[in-house]
Symmetry: C2
Subunit: 212 residues, 2 copies
């Protein structure tokens, strides 16, 4: 890899400055509300963007994957990464295509992830990933075995260099468009849970857990 | 930029081969069902991942943005990009954390985007972006002005080098875990539209359009 690791990502806002924020709590709230992030890294000079599960441990974003995966090996080697989390909150329908947009919450975290190798810390981090996916679930399932822990790479990325953006509210049309007899507004979008589908190989008589 | 543009992205599947697909129709279906993609590129050797709206024009993925944005300038210059589209379809709850996962549909498109400069093609491409967001909407709103078109960069990325992955179905636990008295299955997740919220500056008496 010829990537210069010392260069700092440029997190200044150039466009839509008013939507930008350096607020750590905001960044954490966006991360905590997400099931997936998009992890970007550079290999042989080319960009790759891969969806992954995530969780947060205080001031670190956690990622995990198979020790056998190229992605995890690349990231664990300390490559610069950009982890982006996006929630799409709505379609913003203005009176023109030009002013139509989307409402969203997004955060980009820049930095070099490092593997969590201490066995206790690693177990705790992986538990946070399970808790993040579904609070309460962990009390129902068995503990991970040593073999499973060894087969998993856990990475921590400091939430230090980041950029959060939030776009919300109604469309903003120029005055000349505002009296057009066209409906304008926001169509909210939310990720909703559907009815749980039991695994076909489950023994009879097992009830749906309370956390579902 | 020292990025070697001639290097081809490596789209071979290494992990989870059975989930991978080179199927063009599948890639298109994943793209067509999405409101946002995550666009990755390299600047000064560092990765950036940015959420953007998207649409498809036949064998090209379309992106757009302000001519003033650094992102659009970077991409329009022919930088290698990786555009990833992900739909999260469900939480897959196995009898162990290790075998728990997510169901998803995802496609990564690799390549160099190029600006669409022909005025008619550009207008048509931007119309596709509006149609993609909300079919039917365009018949209600005014045409874009020449000034608006000039303020917008439209980029086309060929859907040629891509990699689609789909993970679906129930959890797959090893035999020894299957008789555990623990609920296992899938919690489906879908992006749902909420009740439209009218813009506060809308004249009275404008009904909600049929397409909403």
């Amino acid at each position: 890899m010829s990537t210069p690791k010392a260069v700092r990502a440029d997190t200044r806002f150039r466009r839509l400055r008013e939507k930008g924020s350096k607020d750590f709590d905001l960044a954490c709230a966006i991360i905590d509300a997400a099931f997936v992030c998009h992890v970007g890294f550079v290999a042989d000079g080319l960009p790759y963007v891969i969806p992954m599960a995530l969780a947060r441990d205080g001031k670190s974003l956690l990622l995990h994957g198979s020790v056998a995966s190229r992605l995890m090996k690349n990231l664990a080697s300390g490559l610069p990464s950009c982890v982006t989390v996006t929630h799409l909150d709505g379609l913003v329908l203005a009176r023109s295509a030009f002013n139509s947009s989307m409402n969203y919450r997004s955060v980009m975290v820049f930095g070099n992830a490092s593997p969590v190798t201490d066995p206790d810390e690693k177990r705790r981090g992986l538990e946070l990933l399970t808790d993040h996916l579904l609070p309460g679930r962990r009390s129902d399932i068995r503990e991970s075995t040593r073999k499973e822990l060894n087969a998993t790479t856990l990475l921590a990325l400091p939430i230090e260099r980041f950029s959060a953006k939030v776009s919300d509210g109604p469309p903003e049309d120029p005055a000349k468009d505002r009296n057009t007899p066209v409906w304008a507004g926001v169509v909210p979008l939310t990720l909703e849970r559907g009815k749980p589908e039991s695994a076909p190989d489950m023994p009879d008589g097992i009830p749906l857990p309370d956390y579902l």
